[in-house]
């Protein structure tokens, strides 16, 4: 494996899920796998869970990691070719990625979308330029379009909780938010759920349709209550509109998920990638009750990252 930026195929995904579960059982299984190698963690946006879980994963493999926060004005990167750099951008991504690629054996990069320039965002042009100019394996820590490490951790969590002998019904349920939120987690969750051959329903208010490349094959349902029927897993997540891009639309119905909405579905487990806005996206009753898998998902971020780094080091 020389890149980890999206779902590739079901056999790779299953191998990563199995490897993650092996690392969960024995995190120090390969303590010297990364010895003498270095991982650069490049953040163009803030991070807490992603940074720490990836650093712990690296440490479990004996891989030295370095964090670079480039989300401050002082290191604003110019992304466009041929620009006359006489504004506030101090360094071109070409030069920065080249240097970082010469300092590190693996780069892991977080680059959120602008939510204002749809063409640039959907081309994942920041991530792609890091890949192009760094010359080393790149792991996405959430790009404009996808958050594959989160989805891998989610798939590990589903695998741990899957009802035996059944293809699970997975529901991705839109939730309210006060800010315009990227599509990456929702896109990747859809991509991985269907890629892993789960039965996926996506429920959201009309107008919140995701990019079709990620939702083809899923059941789109505007009625949340109907979508929740018989669900084995409900993944709660906000995203902004894809069209008009990055906008928050007026929504009259109540999309907050609470126990009341699941009272007829005793078995459903509830997931969220965190951080979660309590009582806006998800009710306290669910988050503090036995349905919640959110802490398990967060813990599994370590082992998802470890499986990926192990694969790249192999």
């Amino acid at each position: 494996m020389n890149q980890f930026t999206k779902f590739e195929n079901i056999s790779t995904a299953n191998a990563l899920i199995s490897k993650a579960l092996e690392f969960k059982a024995d995190p120090h299984m390969h303590p010297n796998k990364g010895q003498g190698k270095r991982l650069g963690l490049i953040f163009l946006n803030p991070s807490l869970r992603t940074r720490v879980s990836t650093q712990i994963a690296a440490s479990n493999l004996g891989l030295e990691s370095f964090v670079l926060n480039m989300d401050k004005d002082t290191w604003a990167l110019e992304m466009h070719d041929g620009t006359l750099m006489n504004k506030n951008k101090v360094e071109h991504i070409k030069d920065a990625a080249g240097v970082l690629g010469s300092y590190f054996d693996i780069l892991a990069i977080r680059a959120f979308p602008s939510l204002t320039n749809k063409q640039e965002d959907t081309s994942d042009f920041i991530l792609k330029q890091f890949i192009q100019y760094s010359g080393v394996p790149v792991v996405s820590l959430e790009s404009a379009v996808r958050h594959p490490l989160q989805s891998l951790a989610d798939m590990v969590t589903i695998r741990e909780n899957i009802p035996s002998g059944k293809k699970p019904k997975v529901v991705l349920s839109w939730a309210p938010h006060i800010k315009a939120i990227p599509h990456a987690v929702a896109n990747s969750f859809a991509e991985w759920s269907m890629g892993c051959d789960y039965d996926l329903t996506i429920t959201h208010p009309e107008g919140y349709e995701l990019d079709e490349q990620f939702t083809q094959g899923a059941d789109i349902q505007y009625n949340q209550n109907k979508a929740l029927e018989d669900a084995d897993f409900v993944y709660v997540k906000n995203w902004s509109a894809y069209n008009p891009y990055g906008k928050i639309l007026a929504v009259d119905e109540d999309w907050l998920l609470t126990e009341k909405k699941l009272k007829k579905n005793k078995k459903a487990k509830v997931m969220h990638c965190l951080p979660v806005r309590r009582n806006l996206e998800l009710g306290d009753d669910i988050l503090d009750g036995p349905r919640s898998l959110v802490q398990a998902q967060a813990k599994n971020r370590i082992f998802a990252a470890q499986a990926v780094l192990d694969g790249i080091l192999s």
Copy 2:
């Protein structure tokens, strides 16, 4: 030891002081004590000395440490139960503490008081919630109410400089400042000095009385000159009023400590936790002269933290 948030009892304190002095003599006495374990250092407020000294202490024990600065707006924590999170707080302390507790074996937390909400501050509700929701041992790196690692380092420094065969007279002397400063260092110094059975005098302008739970048993003296007589150790520190809470009161007298005020007391050693406002709290003549123990205190922060981490790892 499963928690380090305050003075417990004299035998525990004496054991920690002795252990710290052992580590000072041989920092690498237990180089593998923390092997395979991880310490998360969570800062809700800035830190320099505390962060570095604790990281060095951890490293001396082979304990891997990770710093998380959560004092930026991007990770503002919601602290109150049942809140509808539709404002600027992005994550609830319940969820964050749960995740951090699942990533780390020990958490060390800095959480300053607001100095505006007395009830919340004096209940130490941030520290308590981290303890409640993280499920792992917690070390205070200064909470709203106490700064026990500083006080332990102070007690180590007093032990090193104590006049033999005598119960020392310790004076906590209020100093001027331009900002409203928390009570934590003063509270803890009083708690530990009396807990270690030293003769404590607290001197400050009228109106600057500390919370009585920390000062019972101490001699309160409004006349600084009188308080300084026969002092063995003078601990200089500013704090804001406890009542009215967090306010700066008008003070007419001169409370800056200089050599002139100590000219009749040749033996007194002078202490301060740093950072110190020179010539506002303490004169250059004292800080740059032989009375000053401030550098020794700062150095002892390493060994205080090392004794505490060693105790938790045992």
Copy 3:
């Protein structure tokens, strides 16, 4: 070697260049040289390349490194003796340097000039005070006056590309910029180039003369085209005026370096310390073409720092 803040003499420089090239060939030649020792990296200004390359250099030697960013308002240092500290500066450099010197075996410090107070800047008073009060070896990570680690890396890069059997002609060529930029890189490049006995030409618009202590012995040339003739190495760099200090002067001619300006000089290699403003300081055609040594310079920062740390540890 007990300090690394400037060019000392040609034999020391040559030994460092050779050592850096040895480390480039075998970075893990001395993996335990720094064992049990600690390096504190103190940044009063932002850094990316310098921080990471120095941390990697330290790691290659088994030297543990800690980063302290003191460029935030919260830790603004008071630099002047005898000040009444009742303003926004929270700690005196005396106290901070003393503590840092007691925590670390080596300190490395970045302290940019103000560009407003010429006397303070040109006395390098921040760097000098860290040296005076810390009591441990100090490495400059760029001070107000010099950037010696950059220059050492530059000299390593020149050595790697030097035409055999010839004293190379080195040209330091001023470039446009939108901000007032320090003189440190230019000063040091002049100091090291002439110190290493290279033939140095400095070309810049009239008015941009550098401090004479660094330019004595160099050929000063106001005509860029003439300066570029027969150059073996062209080092492109902006700096603000030295007199009037820190100002940007109106310049009518075109000082951007492009292939067109070098069309008669096929052999010239082009250097820049990065970050570079593309198409303002240096054209894309040069940066993306075969003349450019900028990535090699950046990579050599690791081995320059490693040679210096190795020397201090010896």
